[in-house]
Symmetry: C2
Subunit: 124 residues, 2 copies
DNA sequence: TTCTTATGTGCAACTTAGTCGCATTTTATA
DNA sequence: TATAAAATGCGACTAAGTTGCACATAAGAA
């Protein structure tokens, strides 16, 4: 599925900003915040946040808050859990954990916090 | 364990602000943000954030970011997972879920996001 | 290809959570 | 009761995210 297809499928206009923004998110296999993205492309923050909101409404992108008060965004292609390290603040994607069920709830996202493998190793 | 004992055990000074702050957190069985707390007690936000940071360092309190860009705090008495509803933004404590293990990681906190029982019911 | 219109973009001003420096107050101890 | 270290409150600041508005652009019609 190309970026052009995704945009077309949702009946959104294909603009330069949208192509660039989805291009960056698609190319990186990790969640990115606005700060990460503005290092890579020159885009006004109002444009960034308006497009990101639209992508979230259309279920193209999903997001979560990390430990650093910033929101991180990624393509919703393969929904998966995340691990946020309290020590180094790194965000890892956990693509292979077994599904968890909570009776009565619909789970769309799981965030684990704690100490990642690297930091745990350094502590020992 | 009284608030006075907790403070003394960690070798912190027992001040009016600290007693009030821990009193509020102790009295409410749900995570609270600064906005929630300033409705209940009159405390400068610098004092709030400095004390909350100290309580976190001392493992008296823990915290997480919600969907609303605010950080929520609660006593660390009974560590447990949380459910944040994407629809109504409510935060629920999940005190009875079975423990999850991730090989190589130390998990200190789990946050589930999705649709809570109430909102799921309304959708149907 | 050009015209038209709805939609998107960029700018600047704004809001709000959270931080920091500093003068003053309070706690704990001698 | 005196003292020193630590906590508080204030005001100024930072940075994420939002909003209104004028201008630019995508996409379909003519």
């Amino acid at each position: 599925m190309t970026i052009e297809n995704i945009i077309e499928e949702k009946n959104l206009k294909l603009t330069v900003a949208r192509r660039e923004l989805l291009g960056i998110l698609h190319a990186h296999n990790r969640p990115l915040c606005f700060e990460d993205i503005k290092e890579k492309i020159n885009m006004d923050k109002a444009t960034f946040y308006r497009n990101i909101s639209k992508f979230e409404e259309e279920a193209i992108v999903n997001s979560f808050e990390s430990n650093d008060k910033k929101r991180y965004y990624e393509m919703q292609e393969f929904p998966h859990a995340h691990f946020i390290c309290n020590t180094c603040n790194a965000i890892e994607c956990l693509k292979n954990i077994e599904p968890i069920n909570l009776e009565g709830y619909i789970i769309t996202d799981i965030i684990f916090k704690g100490i990642c493998k690297g930091c745990k190793h350094e502590e020992e």
